[in-house]
């Protein structure tokens, strides 16, 4: 076993594959038949609201929970029935879980000593140097600040050079500024050590800035998976469209569909959606467009084949936020629409009559679903409040 282990550790990162993994707790299904593959050396993020099953997925991979069904493979080897201490996986816990009775150095060297690595102390010092904390090696965890403890937790996991590093909302307890700084550090450490990172978070900005691939989870299922830009530009479900950033959504029915364009009627309005960007070609459909794609104008724009124009509508609110201004525009026959406009000195006042237009290429079509509790406001604090 020890021979096998050392060979896996020597290679650094390894592929992770989940095959039809489910975890059922009495009364609810936390993880519902998930399959995914994370290639070696990548930075993968599981994004979702609290209670969506992302932490359970992580615990299944680390071995702290046993799956109800399905298989887990690391580097092609089935590890489903192994104990946590036998897995070449390390976790950076949300609570950090540093051992309070050990010094920082002993904490970092713990995993190495368990595996009887000869120069455990030297490696631990190196790992602490990587997170710029070697000078506190002889202190106890309680003597460190939250940000420092977080970095020690990271060093304690990274020092083992695991095949897979699991990060369970490791930045959740830090304030915003420190969190942004740690995101950059984490990302650079990941590229430096070349390990496979699996990062779990409910912060969409964190997931998008750090990960190569993001999987959006909801109710134990993966809704959509892909590169951050891909997910943002072309969401495939209502949940992704509203959880990852904001969207203006209109429920309607497909009136005509050609190979290039799907035309949707929403009340008296009609919208064109590129066929390649529509997941639905007949029946009920939801059309969406991101708020920053929309241009606002006081006069009616000239009709164009490539632009979608709605209006006239009334600006009911204009809130200035520095870089941009967020407008809420009431368009008769449609929902209240959200528009983000770059601040170029011309702010439209509330009560003004305006027209909204956007490049039809930016519209997307997703399957119609009854709206749920998550609408446009998916800030971290709201989600945290909903969670517990």
């Amino acid at each position: 076993m020890s021979h096998n282990e050392s060979s896996v550790f020597a290679t650094g990162g390894a592929d992770l594959e989940l095959v039809n993994i489910s975890k059922v707790f009495p009364g609810f299904t936390a993880v519902d038949n998930i399959s995914l593959k994370i290639p070696a050396g990548s930075f993968f993020a599981l994004l979702g609201p609290s209670g969506c099953g992302k932490t359970t997925t992580l615990r299944l991979i680390s071995g702290l929970e046993e799956p109800t069904s399905g298989k887990i493979l690391i580097g092609g080897k089935d590890i489903t029935n192994t104990k946590p201490h036998q897995r070449t996986v390390n976790t950076v816990f949300q609570s950090y879980a540093l051992f309070p009775h050990m010094t920082i150095l002993e904490n970092v060297a713990f995993g190495l000593k368990q595996r009887k690595i000869a120069n455990a102390m030297d490696l631990a010092h190196q790992a602490l140097a990587l997170v710029e904390l070697d000078h506190v090696a002889s202190r106890k965890p309680s003597q460190l600040s939250g940000g420092q403890q977080q970095r020690v937790a990271l060093a304690r996991a990274v020092v083992n050079r695991p095949a897979l590093l699991l990060l369970d909302e490791p930045l959740g307890a830090l304030d915003l500024k420190l969190r942004r700084q740690m995101q950059i550090e984490l990302k650079s450490i990941q590229s430096e050590v070349g390990l496979t990172f699996l990062h779990v978070t409910h912060d969409q900005e964190e997931a998008m800035t750090m990960a190569d691939t993001v999987a959006v989870m909801n109710k134990g299922k993966i809704e959509q998976m892909g590169a951050p830009a891909e997910l943002y530009e072309l969401p495939k479900t209502r949940f992704v469209a509203t959880f990852l950033g904001q969207s203006n959504l209109f429920d309607g029915t497909v009136s005509t569909a050609t190979s290039s364009t799907v035309t949707v009627s929403v009340g008296a309005h009609s919208f064109d959606v590129p066929a390649a960007r529509s997941a639905v070609v007949k029946g009920e459909i939801t059309v969406g467009v991101r708020p920053e794609k929309i241009a606002i104008s006081r006069t009616k724009p000239a009709a164009s084949k490539t632009r979608t124009i709605v209006g006239p509508g009334n600006v009911i609110d204009a809130s200035f936020s520095g870089v941009s201004t967020q407008y809420l525009v009431d368009v008769p026959g449609l929902n209240t629409m959200t528009v983000f406009e770059q601040n170029d000195g011309d702010i439209v006042k509330a009560g003004t009559q305006v027209w909204l237009s956007w490049d039809t290429e930016f519209s997307f079509g997703i399957p119609f679903e009854a709206a749920e509790f998550i609408e446009s406001d998916t800030s971290t604090t709201t989600l945290a409040a909903q969670a517990k």
Partner: protein
């Protein structure tokens, strides 16, 4: 207090008088405790020390002693009762280990496994102290009957020829140690429970995640984190067990072959009326326990954890 503040000119004086007042209140609140300790601990201790150096005047009645400085009392008791002292500490140590071996899993079960069920947890704790509802003497007598030669346990074992027909349990070291362990298990379990109940299980998960198996995790994480409970539990068991005179008495689970220091002190005080010997033996016991306990606390390094 407000009037006091007005009567003094400079505000600095007013502030210092307020803080003086505060410390006076603190002293006042401490007073009952201090008086209690003076009356019921320091005075008897002082009297005990004086008694331990007393000597019998020429042609004295039994139990008649006068103040003196007869340090030979100590030499005599150490010579006469060295065997009893050794036996006391051995019995107490074995009983403490047994109580720990039974109390730790019990406290772990209540503090960790029952953590999701607060009602069951409280019920289990009540059950731990439930034996206290019946007098300690009665329970010990009950054990004497159960362990008696023709009693339930030995009788049954004999009936199935599992032990030789002349087996005794009462009156032996086994029954005395058993009695000590039995009687002190609640004193071991409760302090262990208060430590284990606070144990952060996420640390055990972290240890498992860092390649430590269950046994190593227990040794390297669980035990060090619950050490304060282990230390106070063992002290609360060992100290009274070393001085116990009920379990080892021939009226209960012991015999003259199992006499401990407590029995020696008891018979010197109440039967032989040799007060100086009883007093010096008490002080020897106290000194020995103080040395053992401070060595133990120092060794386990709990001051760092507390």
């Amino acid at each position: 207090m407000a009037i006091g503040a007005f009567s003094h000119g400079p505000s600095g004086t007013a502030v210092s008088s307020a803080s003086q007042k505060k410390s006076r209140v603190a002293w006042f609140l401490l007073l009952p405790g201090i008086v209690y300790l003076l009356l019921f601990f320091l005075t008897p201790l002082f009297s005990l020390i004086l008694t331990s150096f007393k000597t019998a005047p020429p042609a004295a009645f039994i139990g008649e002693y006068v103040y003196a400085f007869r340090w030979e009392n100590y030499v005599e008791v150490l010579g006469m009762y060295g065997e009893h002292s050794l036996r006391s500490f051995t019995y107490a140590a074995i009983a403490t280990i047994i109580a720990l071996a039974i109390g730790y899993p019990l406290a772990y079960f209540i503090g960790v496994r029952l953590r999701p069920y607060p009602l069951l947890q409280s019920l289990a704790l009540v059950l731990v102290i439930a034996p206290f509802f019946i007098s300690f003497l009665l329970r010990t007598v009950a054990w004497k009957q159960l362990l008696a030669d023709e009693g339930l346990i030995v009788g049954t074992l004999k009936a199935f020829a599992l032990v030789p027909p002349d087996t005794h349990i009462t009156g032996t070291a086994i029954s005395v140690i058993f009695g000590l362990a039995y009687n002190f298990i609640p004193f071991m379990t409760l302090p262990l429970y208060t430590s284990i109940e606070r144990l952060d299980l996420r640390l055990l998960e972290a240890s498992n995640d860092l390649y430590a198996n269950s046994f190593t995790t227990f040794r390297k994480v669980t035990v060090p984190l619950t050490l304060p409970g282990i230390v106070s539990g063992t002290l609360l068991t060992f100290i009274p067990a070393a001085g116990d005179y009920v379990n080892a008495s021939a009226n209960f689970l012991g015999s003259t072959q199992t006499s401990m220091i407590g029995n020696v002190i008891e018979s010197n005080f109440l039967v032989l009326q040799n007060y100086p010997h009883a007093a010096s033996m008490s002080l020897v016991l106290m000194g020995a326990i103080l040395i053992l306990v401070s060595a133990y606390v120092f060794k386990s390094g709990t001051d760092d954890l507390l």
